[in-house]
């Protein structure tokens, strides 16, 4: 499946995979992601939502849109089919207005994940050391404070354990002001799976899992972004 998804993107001369494609690859690699399906019509979206279970999140799927929220392409917490039909139309209207020339493939449907501490996991390629993994807390921690830890692939279990504890914001994951403690084993296991994934797929140039919800009962990636290398 991974090879086919990448081949399909290459055939279309795309380096950015859609969220749906990225999550297919990750699910196959054993990384826990929210199941996400592509709908090209309202009826298809409603059918997916019925199977996945409400509430759901709807997100526009387009190669030419980098930041989906900026063009009004995201609806969260959609409670039932009636709400879904309205939300689908709202996305369509807003995106058409904000990005009239965007090439839109459809709308992705996924169940709303139960929130937890938001963390970010990522892959990038270093010129000297090849694939590297990143871990950090999401939101302001990563964007403003750049509070992240890196390791070079392949990771050993000890590396995963150390990088989770290395960030300044680690106490947040141990439970902080009412936020329950995150399941660190689940985060570490996700890092190790990503390490294997990066090693097996040298065509992955960049990957962000942002956010990953780290909860007491596990960790799940609710958004994923994969960029392929320029040449295969």
């Amino acid at each position: 499946m991974t090879a086919e998804v990448i081949a399909a993107a290459r055939a279309e001369q795309r380096t950015l995979l859609s969220e749906v494609e990225a999550k297919q690859l990750l699910a196959e690699a054993g990384v826990n992601v929210t199941e996400t399906r592509l709908a090209t019509s309202i009826d298809e979206a409603a059918a997916h939502a019925a199977e996945l279970g409400y509430p759901v999140a709807l997100k526009v799927v387009s190669d030419s849109i980098t930041h989906k929220t900026d063009v009004g392409g995201v609806e969260l917490g959609v409670a039932d089919e009636a709400a879904l039909r309205d939300a689908y139309l709202r996305i369509h209207e807003r995106v058409t207005a904000a990005a009239p020339n965007a090439d839109v493939q459809g709308v992705s449907v996924q169940p709303m994940a139960e929130a937890g501490a938001e963390v970010i996991l990522g892959i990038t390629q270093d010129q000297q050391f090849g694939p590297v993994l990143m871990f950090g807390l999401g939101g302001v921690f990563v964007e403003v404070l750049k509070d992240v830890a890196f390791r070079i692939v392949p990771l050993e279990p000890r590396d995963a354990s150390e990088m989770v504890r290395e960030i300044q914001g680690f106490p947040v994951l141990e439970g902080f002001r009412g936020t329950p403690a995150a399941n660190l084993d689940a985060i570490e296991s996700m890092l190790l799976k990503l390490s294997e994934f990066a090693e097996a797929n040298p065509e992955i140039a960049e990957l962000d899992l942002n956010p990953v919800f780290a909860r007491p009962d596990g960790a799940v990636a609710v958004d994923a972004r994969i960029l392929l290398t320029a040449e295969s």
Binding site: L16, T66, I120, G122, I123, T124, D126, Q127, Q128, F129, G130, V132, M134, G136, V142, E143, K146, V148, A149, F150, R151, I152, D159, E162, M163, E166, A205, E206, L207, D208, N210, R225, L227, A230
Partner: protein, 470 residues
């Protein structure tokens, strides 16, 4: 063709050495530097004007490498870049073990001619498996064998530090400054452009070298980062490795579209790599020397509780500050320790809470220092011991009454040999720089790790403690 270990060993631990193309204009630097070499040293020079000056140094000169009556293990080549390929061919023909190409003006210039000449040198050396060091480097320093590239470098002393440097200057400065701290190299290599042998090759050699106890490295970038990463992982599992990364490599210039890529700065990746392989990062020459010193001369502890001995109340405070800033704790001592200290400690102008403000007590009777050490050694609240040696008060006294300094050294060495707890001393030079330097070198030679400031001592002990005891 890979350079064999046998060939590399011939180059880095040579029995016969030759210098090709040394000149009066450079003060015969190479020949003079290599004069103390323990085995036969030859010169190769064809210029009739240069030969008498070389012979005056008492070094036999030959017109060609192949004329030398024995096989050369290590050669230094200081010829202009255009001639370098011919000399390297000559080394291959004469079955020289390895050669240092001091010559610069190769790929590092970015000029076509430089890149072309470097490729030519590679094409000659690589298929022959020649252990080529450089080009654009200072090469090899083995003080135990009298191999040097600078006349101020030590010789006749067997060191225990392996040092790998991409830069000639930092390699040289490490050997010179290290010697002023009583630290000597087993093998030091400045490898420059590293076209045949690169950092990983020297690291592997030093990991297996029985003389080398600890390895330091100055590096700016790696040609094969994956190999360096794997090699460092293996080497750091055998011996402590301390890495100083200089400079920032430019990014690839590609469009970055993820958070991960935008945060992955060169510095962040190197720091992560160093941590991941089990080495420790330092950021300048002084810190390199400090951490190597602490690694070699202090015992390891898993704990972080210090007993501190100071000479005044003011120093007790800032000594504590310096160590606590680096994550050390300065706890109260056990009741048993306090009971013992109360029997003899002079509390007029002194205190024994921890730090122990002990100048008065030791001044009263030098034996009290041994008692203090015995108490700290037994105290279960204490994992390591630090001591302030005051240049302000003591430098002149030590000069006037050297027996007092001897006595202090005896006490420190006694504690270090009897206790499993790490010990280190801080000797700030104050207004007595020269006296402090003399005292520090003496202490170092006696195996007592001594640092020029509290902060440097605290940092060195912390970083050395993060290195596994291997």
């Amino acid at each position: 063709m890979a350079v064999t270990r046998e060939r590399l060993t011939r180059a880095l631990a040579p029995k016969v050495v030759a210098v090709i193309g040394d000149k009066k204009a450079s003060g015969y630097n190479w020949l003079r530097s290599l004069k103390p070499f323990v085995g036969p040293l030859y010169s190769v020079q064809v210029d009739e004007n240069e030969i008498p000056g070389i012979e005056e140094l008492g070094i036999p000169n030959y017109k060609s490498l192949t004329d030398i009556p024995e096989k050369v293990d290590f050669a230094v080549c200081a010829v202009p870049r255009q001639v370098a390929p011919f000399i390297v061919q000559g080394c291959v023909d004469a079955d020289v073990g390895g050669v240092t190409l001091f010559t610069s003006g190769f790929a590092e210039t970015g000029e076509d001619i430089g890149v072309e000449l470097q490729q030519k040198v590679f094409d000659i050396a690589d298929p022959a498996g020649l252990a080529l060091i450089g080009p654009n480097c200072m090469g090899l320093h083995v003080p135990g064998l009298g191999v040097r590239f600078n006349r101020d470098q030590p010789e006749g002393v067997q060191g225990n530090i392996g040092f790998v440097s991409q830069s000639g200057t930092h390699g040289m400065n490490f050997s010179l400054t290290g010697a002023a701290h009583g630290l000597y190299c087993s093998t030091l290599v400045s490898f420059g452009n590293g076209i045949i042998l690169e950092a990983a090759d020297y690291l592997e050699y030093m990991a297996d070298d029985p003389q080398t106890e600890v390895i330091g490295m100055y590096i700016e970038g790696a040609r094969d980062g994956r190999r360096l990463f794997k090699t460092l992982r293996e080497v750091a599992a055998k011996k402590p490795v301390i890495i100083w990364k200089g400079g920032q490599t430019e990014g690839g210039g590609r469009a970055i579209r993820s958070h991960t890529a935008s945060l992955a700065s060169d510095q962040a990746i190197w720091e992560a790599m160093i941590k991941q392989v089990g080495a420790v990062a330092v950021h300048n020459l002084d810190e390199m020397i400090d951490v190597i010193k602490a690694t070699l001369l202090t015992k390891r502890t898993q704990g972080n509780r210090l007993g501190l001995v100071a000479m005044t109340g003011g120093q007790s405070v800032v000594l504590t500050d310096a160590f606590e800033k680096e994550g050390w704790k300065v706890p109260t001592l056990s009741d048993d320790s306090y009971a013992q200290l109360s029997e003899f400690f002079n509390i007029i102008g002194g205190s024994y809470r921890n730090p122990l403000d002990a100048a008065g007590t030791i001044g009263q009777d030098p034996k009290h220092l041994d008692t203090i050490f015995d108490i700290l050694n037994e105290d279960e609240n204490i994992d390591a011991v630090g001591m302030e040696l005051s240049a302000t008060f003591m430098a002149r006294r030590w000069q006037d009454k050297p027996e007092e300094f001897d006595r202090l050294i005896t006490s420190l060495k006694k504690f270090m040999s009897e206790s499993d707890k790490p010990f280190l001393a801080a000797l700030h030079p104050s207004h007595q720089e020269e006296a402090a330097l003399t005292a520090r070198l003496r202490l170092q030679e006696e195996g007592i790790p001594t640092f020029p400031s509290f902060e440097r001592a605290a940092n060195a002990l912390r970083k050395a403690s993060t290195l596994a005891a291997v």
